[in-house]
C-alpha cells in the first residue's frame, strides 16, 4: 500500500514542475514589457524601471528567474498583489474557505442527487424513470451555469422571494471570522438567525455549481451500474438467494463505485472552474471572483499565483482520488 502511494506521489512531481513552468511562462507571454504593463497607464521612469527590474529579477537570465520563482513558490512566496500589496498567498487563504464551503455544498448536492438517480436509472433500465433521469442529466450537463444561476435567481430570489440574491450572509449580521466558513462562524456567533441566513445564501449557488457534476455523476453511475449488473458475480450473488436490494447495494454498488469515484474526483476541477462563474454571478467572495477581478485589474502576480494554487489543489485531489481508488479496488492495491 505504501509502495502504491509512493509511486503515485512520484508521478505528481513532474506534473507540478510542469505547472510552475506554465504559470512562469504565461506571465512572460504578456505582450510588451512586464514592468510597463504592471505600472499601467501612468508609466514609469527609467530609474524606477531599472530598480523594479532588479527587484523583480527581470535582469537575470530566464532560467535563474525560473529557479528563483520555484524557490519562492516552495517557501510559500507567490509574490505580492500589485493593487493591495498583500502577499498573494495570504489573500488566497482568506478567500479560500468561502470557495471550499461553496464547493463542498455543491459536491454534496451533486452526489446526493446524482448517485441515487444513476442507480435508479440503471436498475429501472428502459423505463420512463430511466429516460427522464437521462434527459435531465444531459440537460444539466449542457447547462451554461452562469445563465442557470441567473435563471434560478430570477425565479427564486426575484419572483418568489424565497432566497437572497447574493453574498454569503445578510448584511445585518456581523460575523467574526473564526474559521472562514460562514456556516460554522454563524453558529459560533450568538446572533439569532445568522445560521439560517447563511444557509439560505448557500442554497442557490450550491445548486448552480453542483448541476454539472450532478449530471456527470448520474450518467457515470448509471453506465457503470449497468455494466456491473450484467456481470457474472451478480448472477452468483442472486443465485445465493440474497434480497435484491442487497445485491444492488452490497454487490453491485461497491464495484460500480470504482469508476464513479474517479469521476467524482475529476469534478473538483469542474467545481473550481465553475466557481469562477458561480461566484461572479452571486457575488460570492471566493477565489473565483478574486481571480476574475484580478484579471480585470491586470493584477498579474495574483493571476499567476491563483492559477498555480488552484492547479496544485486539483493535482493533490486527483492524487487522493487515485489512492482512494486503490483502497476500494483490491485488484489495484495488490497488483502494483
Amino acid at each position: 500500500m505504501f509502495q502504491f502511494i509512493f509511486r503515485r506521489l512520484s508521478l505528481v512531481i513532474p506534473t507540478f514542475i510542469g505547472i510552475t513552468l506554465l504559470t512562469f511562462t504565461l506571465i512572460r507571454l504578456i505582450p510588451g514589457d512586464p514592468i510597463e504593463v504592471m505600472a499601467g497607464e501612468r508609466g514609469v521612469s527609467a530609474e524606477r524601471h531599472a530598480e523594479l527590474s532588479a527587484q523583480l529579477g527581470f535582469d537575470q537570465p530566464l532560467y535563474v528567474q525560473y529557479f528563483r520563482y520555484v524557490g519562492g513558490v516552495l517557501q510559500g512566496d507567490l509574490g505580492n498583489s500589485l493593487i493591495t500589496k498583500e502577499p498573494v498567498l495570504s489573500e488566497f487563504l482568506t478567500l479560500f474557505p468561502a470557495t471550499i464551503e461553496l464547493a463542498v455544498c455543491a459536491a454534496i448536492f451533486a452526489i446526493l442527487i446524482g448517485l441515487p438517480a444513476g442507480i435508479f436509472a440503471a436498475v429501472k433500465r428502459g423505463t420512463i424513470l430511466d429516460h427522464s433521469v437521462m434527459t435531465f442529466s444531459l440537460t444539466g450537463y449542457s447547462m451554461p451555469i452562469f445563465w442557470w444561476a441567473l435563471l434560478l435567481m430570477l425565479v427564486f430570489s426575484v419572483t418568489l422571494g424565497w432566497t437572497p440574491v447574493s453574498g454569503r450572509i445578510d448584511v445585518v449580521f456581523w460575523i467574526d471570522d473564526v474559521t472562514g466558513f460562514m456556516l460554522v462562524d454563524s453558529l459560533l456567533s450568538d446572533e439569532e438567525g445568522a445560521f439560517s441566513s447563511a444557509v439560505s445564501h448557500l442554497i442557490l449557488p450550491s445548486i448552480v455549481l453542483g448541476t454539472i457534476p450532478m449530471a456527470v455523476i448520474a450518467r457515470m453511475t448509471r453506465s457503470s451500474m449497468l455494466e456491473v449488473l450484467s456481470e457474472d458475480y451478480i448472477r452468483t450473488a442472486r443465485s445465493k438467494g440474497i434480497a435484491p436490494w442487497r445485491v444492488i447495494v452490497i454487490h453491485a454498488l461497491r464495484n460500480a463505485l470504482i469508476p464513479v469515484i474517479t469521476v467524482i474526483g475529476l469534478q473538483v476541477g469542474i467545481l473550481l472552474s465553475g466557481a469562477i462563474l458561480t461566484e461572479t454571478v452571486f457575488a460570492w467572495p471566493g477565489i473565483g471572483k478574486w481571480l476574475i477581478e484580478s484579471i480585470g485589474r491586470r493584477d498579474y502576480p495574483v493571476v499567476q499565483g491563483g492559477i498555480l494554487i488552484v492547479a496544485t489543489i486539483i493535482i493533490v485531489v486527483n492524487l487522493l482520488v487515485d489512492i482512494a481508488y486503490g483502497v476500494v479496488n483490491p485488484r489495484i492495491r495488490h497488483s502494483r
Partner: protein, 322 residues
C-alpha cells in the same frame, strides 16, 4: 418422488424463444446430464429454474415445481429462501463469477448467513469446513483472500463451496469445467460427483462433454435450439441414439472417428432469431430430412423416459425409420 419437475417450460426474449416447451424431471440423488451446442438453451433453462431470468426475458410453464412446491406461483421472498439453500447453482466461468471486491470468506459466509444465520465464529468455522470439503489447502488463510488471488480451479472450488454451503438438495452445474485447464477439469468433476454421492444431492450437469455425461449421468437430455430432442437413460441414448442430432453429436467425437481422416460434423449452425426454419428445427442440417420434416414440426415420440422429437427416429442400425 421427483425433486424438480418442469412441464412445458418456455423462456422467451421478445419474440425469440430461447427455451421452447421443455419438460424434464430430476429425482433425488440423481445425476441428469444436459448436452447440446452453444445457444441451445441449456443455460437459460437452468437459470429459469433458479429464478434468475431478467426482464425482458419471460418464463412460462405448465408446471415448475421443486419438491412438490410450485416455484412460479410462490411469492418472491419465499422463492428466494429456496434458491441458494435448497437449489444451488455453479457457473461456467469461475474467474468472473466471484465478486472481486469481497474476500472469499465474505462470499461464503454471506450464503450461510442469508439462509441459516449463526454467530460470527460459527459461520467462520463452517466456512473453513466448507473450504476443506472442496479440497482447498490452508482454508483459514484462504478466507481472507480476494478472488483475483486465486487460480481458476481454486475459484471454481470456492464457487462449489458457496453452492453447497446450505446443503442443497439440487445442484445445477452449468458447464462447470469449460473455462478450466484440462488437468483441472477432471479434479473438479470428481469433486462434484463425490459431493453429490455423499450429500445425496440431485445434480443437473450441463455440458458439452458427451464422454463426461456418459460416464457420470444416469439420465441425459439432448437439447437443440431450445428444444429437448431426445431424452433417456444415459447408456441407451449414447449407445443407440434415436435422434439424428444425437447421432451427429456422437459422430463428432474424436473417439468415433477412429480410422477416418476427418471428424464427422453437421454442416450449418443452430438457428437463431431470424433464421428459424418452419418445420423440424434440425431440418436444414439433418442428413435424413424429408419434405415432411421441412414443413411440419415433429412431436415427441416414445415412452416417458425415452422420448425423441423426430418424424423418423433412428433404429438400432442408426438408420431412419421408414
Amino acid at each position: 418422488m421427483s425433486l424438480l419437475k418442469l412441464e412445458n417450460l418456455s423462456v422467451s426474449f421478445g419474440n425469440f424463444r430461447a427455451v421452447d416447451n421443455i419438460s424434464y424431471q430430476v429425482d433425488e440423488g440423481e445425476v441428469l446430464g444436459i448436452v447440446g451446442e452453444s445457444g441451445s438453451g441449456k443455460s437459460v433453462s437452468s437459470l429459469s429454474v433458479m429464478g434468475l431470468i431478467d426482464y425482458p426475458g419471460k418464463v412460462s410453464a405448465d408446471k415448475l415445481s421443486f419438491d412438490g412446491q410450485d416455484l412460479l406461483s410462490m411469492p418472491e421472498t419465499q422463492r428466494r429462501k429456496l434458491t441458494g439453500s435448497e437449489i444451488a447453482m455453479i457457473f461456467q466461468d469461475p474467474m468472473t463469477s466471484l465478486n472481486p471486491c469481497f474476500t472469499v470468506g465474505y462470499q461464503i459466509i454471506e450464503a450461510l448467513k442469508t439462509h441459516q444465520g449463526g454467530s460470527k465464529k460459527e459461520l467462520r468455522q463452517r466456512a473453513i469446513d466448507l473450504l476443506t470439503q472442496v479440497g482447498i489447502p490452508a482454508p483459514e488463510t484462504r478466507l481472507s483472500a480476494y478472488p483475483h488471488q486465486l487460480s481458476g480451479g481454486m475459484s471454481q472450488r470456492v464457487m462449489i463451496a458457496i453452492a453447497i454451503a446450505c446443503n442443497p438438495r439440487l445442484l445445477i452445474a452449468d458447464e462447470p469445467t469449460t473455462a478450466l485447464d484440462v488437468t483441472i477439469q477432471a479434479q473438479i468433476i470428481d469433486l462434484l460427483i463425490d459431493l453429490q454421492r455423499t450429500k445425496k444431492m440431485g445434480l443437473v450437469l450441463i455440458t458439452h462433454d458427451l464422454a463426461l455425461v456418459a460416464e457420470v449421468a444416469q439420465r441425459v437430455i439432448v437439447m437443440y435450439a431450445g428444444q429437448i430432442v431426445e431424452s433417456g437413460p444415459a447408456s441407451e441414448v449414447f449407445s443407440q441414439p434415436k435422434h439424428p442430432y444425437t447421432q451427429a453429436l456422437l459422430a463428432s467425437l474424436p473417439e468415433s472417428a477412429a480410422g477416418k481422416s476427418r471428424l464427422d460434423a453437421l454442416s450449418g449452425v443452430v438457428p437463431g432469431m431470424y433464421d428459424r426454419p418452419q418445420g423440424c428445427l434440425l431440418s436444414p442440417r439433418c442428413p435424413y430430412a424429408t419434405e415432411h420434416c421441412h414443413n411440419v414440426a415433429p412431436e415427441n415420440q416414445g415412452p416417458i423416459g425415452r422420448q425423441v422429437k423426430c418424424h423418423t427416429p433412428l433404429d438400432e442400425m442408426g438408420r431412419p425409420a421408414a
